[in-house]
Structure formats: structure tokens, C-alpha cells
């Protein structure tokens, strides 16, 4: 199993781990097949992410992806976050092997969920929907 330097770095030294106090929005995506999950917590001011943290369960690449995304979106406007697709997640992670590709979907979906939840005033909690990564 090979990993990009970004994945090794963020997996070994994860950034922004933990829950935020009084988050403005939360998001949760899980893959019911492989079991991987990412929970995001964010503070948002004027549609701009001022802080984002995560908790996650999963494989090496999933955990690293969560850390990479929280670092990447801090300071971004929600419109820019909404534009982060699978290809961008792959770029941010420095590339995935075929068996790691599901992390791109997981990453894209959790960011879209974050934006959607904030704009609709909803949050993914315990009953957050599980989305299937294909």
C-alpha cells in the first residue's frame, strides 16, 4: 500500500482533531459498506469558514483526508467549499491509489453536506444520513 506524502503527513500529524464548542454547523458522512465516517464541525462568519475540526473512523486514507480537508477549507467562502469535488479532493490529498479512491467521494460528500446544512439550517447529528460511496 502506497500513500502520498500529504496522506502520510496528515495521518501522522492530524490537524484540527476534535469537536468544536458551539459549532455553527456540523456534517456527517459515512460509507455503510466500508464503515468509514467523517464528522465535521465548523464556525462560520459571513459565509466564511473561520474554523473547522473533525472526528473520523476509517482507514489511513480516510483519516488523512479528513485532516487535509479541515486544513484546506479554513478561511474559504462557502461558495468555494461547495465547488470542491472529487477531483479536487484527490489533488489536495496528493493522489489516491484505486483502493483509496472512496475517500475522494467521502470528502466531497461531507463538504457538500456541510455547506448544505449551513444554508438550510440543519445539522447532521446522531441521525445523520449514511451516504454510499461508489
Amino acid at each position: 500500500m502506497s500513500f502520498s506524502p500529504q496522506i502520510i503527513e496528515h495521518f501522522s500529524n492530524p490537524q484540527n482533531v476534535g469537536e468544536l464548542d458551539n459549532p455553527d454547523v456540523t456534517a456527517f458522512v459515512g460509507n455503510p459498506v466500508c464503515g468509514d465516517q467523517i464528522h465535521l464541525y465548523a464556525h462560520i462568519v459571513d459565509d466564511q469558514i473561520t474554523k473547522c475540526t473533525f472526528l473520523a473512523y476509517g482507514c489511513t486514507a480516510s483519516l488523512a483526508t479528513a485532516s487535509i480537508l479541515t486544513s484546506a477549507i479554513c478561511g474559504l467562502h462557502l461558495d468555494a467549499v461547495a465547488l470542491i469535488d472529487e477531483a479536487k479532493v484527490i489533488e489536495l490529498a496528493g493522489g489516491f491509489t484505486p483502493s483509496q479512491r472512496h475517500c475522494a467521494t467521502l470528502g466531497q460528500d461531507v463538504l457538500r453536506s456541510l455547506v448544505h446544512n449551513y444554508r438550510t439550517g440543519s445539522n447532521d447529528g446522531l441521525s445523520g444520513s449514511l451516504q454510499t460511496c461508489q
Binding site: 500529524n13 482533531v17 473533525f54 473512523y57 479512491r101 472512496h102
Partner: protein, 394 residues
């Protein structure tokens, strides 16, 4: 951002996957790099190679207490296992015939058995206890009039549990059925006196006990009926056609010779066991840890552990990034979450079956390496658990 790689530490705890060449074995092989003759040739070049092949055969035979002509060289464990199973079934007058094996065999046995099933034969895959042991009575209960072979591994490659092969072999012999054991994980690591055991066929491979890769052997006790898989030459008494892998055979012989002397000195076995116990005690200080397989029946030096809440892949990677090499039994893909068939057979719940790590120690593992490993495991497990959602749904 500080980069934690690369680590200058290099601790190898994956000896059940493969072992490094022992210096004695390497020296022996290096010495014979120019021994290029074909052992089947009648001239002196051939004779020189033939002498080395036969010397190696005697070394294998001495290690296992069999006759030299009962040693058939192969390309390794998988070929030996295929030859044993398909080769015995091919001699059967029954169509279909029946084979008994266990659910926790190596894939080379399980896939070979599935191949037989695809060709109309019948296979019984015996379950194991929660500790990983095959019940000999289950073997007896599953005998059929057309049972042609019983194949149960000596020690499992993931959990190291040693099976009651003496009892199972005795049941097989009482029923007039040949008994094969996959001893890939035990040859060279513990004494095996085949002459004193009810074993007709035994598979081994050199690279699990400090020999080279690509070479192994099948022990075929005299009188055992078996057909070759590879045709086209009279090598290996017609059971394995093809010019011999002379250098590999020399390496296998040297590894067997080394093991013969080391096994005579119990220090080596107690060394691995003492370090395994040290590792066990250190790891069990963590919460949410479970040992897989009955520790009272495992090969020396192997410890299979599950860490609740963490994927095995993540722990193995975290250790690898810190220079510690171990194995995990599970694989992660978006389209499937595949647990080890051994963990499934043990009856492990989802909570445990995807979080397994195998530590396998070797002759040259040190106490300091074990202490470093314990410290890193604690650090890694605590770090990974700190990321865990409190509402984890798996």
C-alpha cells in the same frame, strides 16, 4: 508542518509473512552462485549440481525425520499445497471424491478446494472453536465412504494456533485416508518428527525460516499415492518435472541445516516466547484490546490482537510510518469491507474483526525492539482513538 517520516527506526515484526536470509544461508548460496550445471546431466558440471541438490534433500529430511527420497522440491508453499491436494485427489477411483479441510486454511488450500468443487468434487470445511482449534471429533463425524484426503494445517498463519494434527492424522489413518498438513508456519520454528506422526504429506517453504523465496518442498511419505501437477520430466521421481532450482534448493537445505541445530537449542524458542509474552503484557495494558486465538496453543513468537474502534489498516500504517513492520488481516475498499476469513471463522464481531494486527517475532528480535514497539503501539492507538467519533456507526 512537521513531517514525521521517514523514521530511522526499522523493526521487523512480520516474520510470519517472510524472513530475511540468515547469514549462514546467504553465505552458502553465495558460495554456489557458480554451480550452474543441470543436475540431470551426466558430466561433472551436472554432477556438482546434483551433489548439492541431494545434500540439501538430506538436510530437509534430517530436519523432519523422513527419508531423503520422501522430499519433493517445489517452488514453494502454494505449489506444495496444490500438489498435495490435487495430486492425491487425482489418484482417487471415486468421482466425485470428498476432501475434509478447515475453514481457516491458507488461501492456497481453500482456493484449491474450491477448484475441486468446481470440478464436481465435495469438500467439507470444518469450523473452528472461538480459540481457533479444529475439533478432531468433527473430522471423524464428517468422514464419508468416498473421503479421499484430510488436510488440516499445522499452525494457522494469522493467529498461530497449532492444530491437533496428531489426533486428526490418527483418525485419518484409522479410516485409511491420507493426511496432509500445511506446515509452512511451523517447519524450522518447532521440532517436527514426521516419522513419529500420522502424516502422509507435509508442505513447507524456505522463506518462512530464513531461507530464500521461490523454493519449498512437499514431503510425500513412501507408499502415498499421488499424481504430479507438472509433467514433462523425471525430476523429483517424476512428481515435479522441470530443471531444479539448484540455488534455491541449496538455500533451503542450508536453512534446514541451520534450523536443525537451532531447534536442538531450546534457547531460540524460549527467546521468541519470552519476547512474545513481553509484547502481550505491554499491549494488554491498553483498554479495548483482545487477543485472537488461544494463546496456550500458538506457535512461539506470534501475537494477533484486535484494537477496538480502530481499523487494522490504520494501525499497521501508523506503525509502518514509525518504522515498525506488522501485518493486518483486513482490507478496506469502498465496494467491500473484507475481514479475514480466519477472524470470521473465530466468530469475531464487526467491532473486532476489522481491527486485527499480527505481530510475528523472529530469532533476531530483541527486547529493546519489543519495548519500542509497545511504546509506539500505545501512542498510535491513543492518537487514533482520539479521532474517533463518539457516535461511531459501524
Amino acid at each position: 508542518m512537521q513531517h514525521s517520516m521517514p523514521s530511522s527506526r526499522r523493526i521487523y515484526l512480520d516474520h510470519s509473512a517472510t524472513t530475511p536470509l540468515a547469514p549462514d544461508v546467504m553465505n552458502c548460496m553465495t558460495h554456489h552462485l557458480r554451480t550452474f550445471g543441470n543436475p540431470s546431466s551426466i558430466h561433472e558440471f551436472g554432477e556438482a549440481a546434483r551433489d548439492q541438490v541431494e545434500l540439501a534433500r538430506r538436510h530437509v529430511a534430517r530436519l523432519l525425520s523422513v527419508e531423503a527420497d520422501e522430499v519433493i522440491f517445489t517452488s514453494g508453499g502454494s505449489e506444495s499445497l496444490n500438489l498435495a491436494i490435487k495430486g492425491v485427489v487425482a489418484t482417487s477411483k471415486h468421482r466425485p471424491c470428498h476432501v475434509i479441510t478447515s475453514q481457516i486454511e491458507h488461501a492456497a488450500v481453500l482456493e484449491t478446494c474450491r477448484h475441486l468443487e468446481a470440478h464436481g468434487h465435495e469438500v467439507t470445511y470444518l469450523p473452528v472453536s472461538s480459540g481457533g482449534l479444529v475439533d478432531p471429533d468433527a473430522v471423524r463425524r464428517n468422514l464419508r465412504p468416498h473421503t479421499q484426503l484430510i488436510s488440516v494445517m499445522h499452525a494457522n498463519n494469522e493467529i498461530g494456533v497449532i492444530q491437533p494434527i496428531e489426533e486428526i492424522g490418527a483418525i485419518a489413518h484409522a479410516a485409511g485416508i491420507p493426511f496432509h498438513t500445511d506446515a509452512v508456519q511451523t517447519v524450522g520454528k518447532r521440532p517436527i518428527n514426521v516419522a513419529m506422526l500420522p502424516i502422509d504429506l507435509l508442505s513447507l517453504t524456505a522463506h518462512k525460516f530464513y531461507g530464500p523465496k521461490g523454493i519449498g518442498a512437499l514431503i510425500v511419505r513412501n507408499g502415498t499415492r499421488i499424481q504430479p501437477l507438472i509433467h514433462g520430466g523425471s525430476q523429483e521421481t517424476g512428481l515435479r518435472a522441470g530443471t531444479e532450482n539448484v540455488l534455491g534448493i541449496i538455500g533451503l537445505g542450508a536453512a534446514c541445516e541451520l534450523a536443525y541445530h537451532e531447534l536442538a537449542d531450546e534457547t531460540w524458542q524460549t527467546h521468541r516466547q519470552r519476547l512474545r509474552d513481553r509484547l502481550y503484557e505491554g499491549i494488554m495494558q491498553l483498554d479495548g484490546v483482545q487477543v485472537n486465538g488461544d494463546l496456550n496453543h500458538t506457535v512461539h513468537g506470534l501475537l494477533n490482537v484486535s484494537f477496538r474502534g480502530i481499523k487494522g489498516d490504520a494501525i499497521a500504517s501508523a506503525l509502518a510510518f514509525q518504522g515498525i513492520a506488522v501485518s493486518t488481516g483486513s482490507a478496506c475498499h469502498a465496494s467491500e469491507r473484507k475481514a479475514s476469513h480466519v477472524m470470521v471463522a473465530l466468530g469475531l464481531s464487526d467491532e473486532w474483526r476489522y481491527s486485527t494486527i499480527r505481530f510475528s517475532l523472529g530469532n533476531y528480535t530483541t527486547a529493546d525492539e519489543i519495548d519500542q514497539t509497545i511504546a509506539v503501539v500505545h501512542q498510535v492507538v491513543n492518537r487514533l482513538r482520539s479521532m474517533l467519533p463518539t457516535t461511531k456507526v459501524i
